[in-house]
């Protein structure tokens, strides 16, 4: 039987929304307060959903120890308490939460093999959240 398991994690990071290809005025118009050159930060909530058959021997889609270990090492350690703009991942893209979602999904898809990665959901604040499922439809 196929089930979907979601685990929520937290990390804090700063970013600045700015695109060098735009003029200063355009950046200001598009990004507003988020264009402040010194950056600003968020407590991000990250939800990772994995899916697969429930193993009849363990009752699990995947062992949480494996998921937690991977997310801590590859995502929370990488992005937590960092200025996202300084990271290699965001040298060609603006570190919006949309792009952060896509990046995190890619890291999981590439490196986590204990279950199928279904989707990633990131809350930037309590009032806005972003979801990415590799371009596929999101199931509710």
């Amino acid at each position: 039987m196929k089930a979907y398991l979601t685990r929520r994690y937290w990390f804090s990071a700063s970013h600045r929304l700015h695109n060098d290809a735009m003029s200063a005025e355009e950046n200001q118009t598009v990004y507003g307060k988020c264009n402040n050159p010194h950056g600003h930060g968020h407590n991000y909530s990250l939800e990772v959903t994995v899916t697969g058959q429930v193993d009849p021997r363990t009752g699990m889609v995947c062992n949480l120890v494996d998921l937690d270990g991977f997310v801590h090492e590859k995502i929370l350690e990488r992005f937590g308490h960092q200025n996202l703009n300084t990271l290699e991942e965001f040298q060609g893209t603006v570190p919006t939460t949309e792009n952060l979602c896509v990046e995190v999904y890619g890291v999981l898809q590439k490196g986590f093999h204990h279950a199928q990665v279904d989707k990633v959901r990131v809350e930037e604040t309590m009032l806005n959240s972003f979801e990415y499922a590799g371009g596929g439809d999101i199931r509710y």
């Binding site: 039987m1 979907y4 685990r7 959903t49 021997r57 363990t58 509710y140």
Partner: protein, 136 residues
């Protein structure tokens, strides 16, 4: 089609153990959850049903009836229970959150004639939940 979700809460204890595994395997795979005396959670259950809005009542489903079915089939059976020992579903199945979601789906599916069951979501903690949609 409109989707309606009803929430309920229950508290229960469980532990993870497979008698086919050696004690070392059980410890390695299940870790702290293997403590034979059990440990507990405050579970939150979300049941989502879907259907067309009835023209006369304006309802997808009579919430009172849905609440009664959830209470009878799930809450009365599982609240303040040791799942491994007191709920028959887990006599031969480990009461992980995955299996709990599947078990609750099966309990509700056979009793819900009011609307179509769409999803059962079980939160073990605010940071961990499982969704089951009835898929094989």
């Amino acid at each position: 089609m409109v989707y309606l979700t009803r929430k309920a809460e229950f508290s229960a204890s469980h532990y993870y153990h497979n008698p086919e595994f050696t004690p070392e395997e059980n410890q390695r795979i299940f870790g702290k959850c293997n403590n034979p005396h059990g440990h507990g959670h405050n579970y939150t259950l979300e049941v989502t049903v879907k259907g067309k809005v009835d023209q006369r009542s304006g309802f997808v489903v009579d919430l009172k009836e849905l609440k009664e079915i959830m209470n009878r089939e799930v809450i009365d059976a599982m609240d303040h229970r040791f799942l491994n020992k007191e709920v028959a579903d887990f006599k031969d199945r480990i009461p992980t959150t995955e299996n709990l979601a599947i078990s609750i789906w099966l309990r509700l599916k056979s009793k819900l004639n009011l609307a179509e069951l769409h999803r059962v979501r079980v939160y073990e903690t605010p940071d961990l939940f499982v969704d089951y949609y009835g898929e094989a």
